[in-house]
């Protein structure tokens, strides 16, 4: 065949495995050490005041941050099966491996449980239910039900991520198309389950930090940020891998362009949700609702709020809008890195103000907990990368993905 313009792409066995020398293959060891040292430092460096609330809040913030990436990854995998997407097959395994990190988050949540009474003390503390507003919410906001719900969320996430990854990896061996059919069938219920668990987890773990306050859109807010963070992380992984010669001629600029477009889209979606939440509360002007934004408009938090509007919308919107930016490794990598940074600001802004009403505080423990949880998450990701092929080698839509091209535009 003399094909001058459309190269026939095929997988070679070398594309399927991580080279032992690559950074990604060493992530389990490196990430594991950094993770444990980071968490130790987060505890050691934290202020001992108020039952080490500094450490507990740092841990919760870092936990919610990296959990959002894993949740975004799981959503992405389910979405590809749900829409029977062909373009994304070559990058789907990366997302599957990111979503297989839930055991780490379960372990972290068990640790967080030890400090739950301090983290959610506004409603867990003794006597909290003397407050008539909280009393009315007691049927939902009580410890046994809180932990039962958490168990349900983790059970579902562990099962769904394992189910989708296991099926996909089994297909690598057999090439059996029935795996694809089963995943397509189950991706619908999985997305529904994902929506419910993710929403209520955001209610339980972040929104209930300020238990008087409520916002029905809060779960969607956390979701929108999750998907942005996942896509940004995915872009960085792809770019760094390809620079290191991994997946170099399997994943192309065309795939990066598409994940870049999705990241841009979800940045706008985040803005839409963030503004909708603010808008309705601002307009109605009811004290029990505005208190949440009031906390975030004083004592340095006001500057964080403005930084979020600019850094999570205006800057990435204008920066990621032109086509050439999304097709350039360096620029897309820069945009992705920026969004991962600003997503942390977002989670910090959601979690911290109820405990630092007097003003914005950034502590050494905040930083160390971020590094620690991040290290463990990367270790889990790296460990999973080593467990199976890097690409779903016998997916029926693999050829479509290998040859995927964007139209001119």
């Amino acid at each position: 065949m003399s094909e001058s313009h459309s190269h026939a792409r095929e997988l070679t066995p070398g594309d399927l495995r991580l080279p032992e020398s690559s950074l990604f293959a060493r992530l389990p060891a490196i990430g594991g050490v950094i993770g444990l040292v980071g968490l130790g430092a987060a505890f050691g460096l934290s202020s001992a005041d108020h039952h080490r609330i500094d450490f507990w809040m740092s841990l919760l913030t870092a936990f919610m941050y990296f959990l959002s990436i894993a949740l975004g990854a799981m959503f992405f995998v389910a979405l590809q099966h749900l829409t029977r997407a062909g373009w994304s097959v070559v990058i789907r395994r990366l997302a599957e491996n990111m979503s297989m990190s839930f055991p780490v988050f379960l372990a972290l949540f068990v640790v967080i449980t030890l400090g739950s009474g301090h983290i959610w003390h506004h409603w867990m503390a003794e006597g909290a239910m003397n407050d008539p507003v909280l009393k009315a919410k007691e049927a939902y906001l009580n410890k046994p039900f809180f932990f039962i719900r958490a168990a349900c969320y983790f059970a579902f996430w562990l099962w769904a991520s394992w189910f989708m990854t296991k099926r996909s990896a089994s297909q690598d061996e057999s090439g059996d198309v029935s795996h694809t059919r089963v995943l397509q069938k189950w991706s619908g219920p999985i997305v529904v389950g994902y929506g419910l668990t993710q929403t209520f987890a955001a209610f339980d773990w972040l929104m209930s930090l300020d238990p008087h306050w409520f916002s029905t859109i809060f779960g969607v807010y956390y979701f929108s940020g999750s998907v942005v963070a996942f896509l940004a992380f995915m872009n960085l992984v792809i770019i760094i891998m390809r620079k290191g010669g991994i997946l170099g001629h399997v994943v192309t600029t065309e795939h990066q362009h598409d994940t870049g477009k999705l990241m841009f889209g979800f940045t706008v979606f985040w803005t839409y949700i963030a503004f909708s939440q603010f808008f309705l509360i601002w307009y109605a002007n009811l004290p029990e609702e505005t208190i949440w934004f009031d906390h975030r408009m004083h004592g340095g938090w006001d500057k964080v709020s403005i930084a979020l509007a600019i850094g999570h919308f205006v800057v990435p919107f204008l920066f990621l809008l032109p086509r050439p930016v999304k097709r350039n490794d360096f620029l897309l990598g820069l945009g992705s890195f920026w969004l991962l940074v600003i997503h942390f600001v977002d989670i910090y802004w959601l979690a911290m103000p109820p405990h630092y009403v007097d003003g914005l505080k950034i502590t050494a423990s905040n930083v160390a907990a971020f590094v620690g949880v991040g290290g463990l998450f990367l270790a889990a990701f790296g460990w999973n990368l080593r467990q199976r092929n890097l690409v779903p080698a016998k997916d029926p839509r693999l050829a479509e993905s290998l040859h995927f091209q964007n139209n001119w535009g």
Binding site: S4, S6, F279, W282, Y283, N285, R323, N407, W408, G409
Partner: protein, 181 residues
């Protein structure tokens, strides 16, 4: 065809999108400017084969959207704070958060309209008549044939050379088309 009609160009017919892509590359390399490819469906990679530059439509739409959004905010400011000031639920006259939805909608509207009208403009549409319609074989361009037409208006155009080139590139049929562009 009447003899006094001007030559419009050379029309070549190809049997497959692959032949068309290959021929496009060669026609581009030969340095022609005024020519086009015709196909019943979008052919992947044809933009690169033809050497087309990215369309300015995105930027036009962006400017349209910014204009629309600005006008939307300006309009509401003028109506609510200048022309008919009315205090609503104790909020300032110029309560910008309240104006965001309409600002956003007008941004989308102007952006979409600019994209639509800009597309027509850049494509030279509407264009009810094209000299290529006089070719009977060209009717199959909406079915199962692929065409390249090199226009006589091209500065490099020599009838014999253009015909030779297209024949060499595997055209199954080459003909001259007359008519006013």
């Amino acid at each position: 065809m009447a003899g006094e009609n001007k030559l419009y160009g050379v029309l070549a017919e190809f049997e497959s999108p692959k032949d068309l892509l290959h021929a496009c590359e060669k026609v581009r390399e030969a340095g022609y400017q005024k020519w086009d490819a015709y196909s019943p469906f979008p052919v992947h990679g044809i933009e690169a084969a033809m050497g087309q530059k990215p369309s300015p439509l995105g930027w036009m739409s962006f400017i349209g959207a910014i204009t629309g959004a600005s006008l939307g905010m300006l309009m509401q400011w003028w109506m609510s704070a200048v022309d008919y000031p009315l205090v609503i639920s104790g909020k300032p006259l110029f309560s910008w958060p309240a104006f965001i939805p309409i600002t956003f909608e007008l941004g989308v509207l102007f952006g979409a309209l600019t994209a639509f009208l800009g597309m027509l403009l850049l494509n030279g549409l509407p264009r009810p008549y094209n000299p290529l319609f006089s070719s009977e074989r060209f009717a199959r361009v909406t079915d199962d044939r692929f065409f390249i037409a090199i226009e006589a208006a091209d500065p490099k155009f020599r009838t014999a050379e253009a015909k030779d080139l297209l024949t060499k590139l595997g055209a199954t049929h080459v003909e001259l088309v007359e008519g006013q562009a």
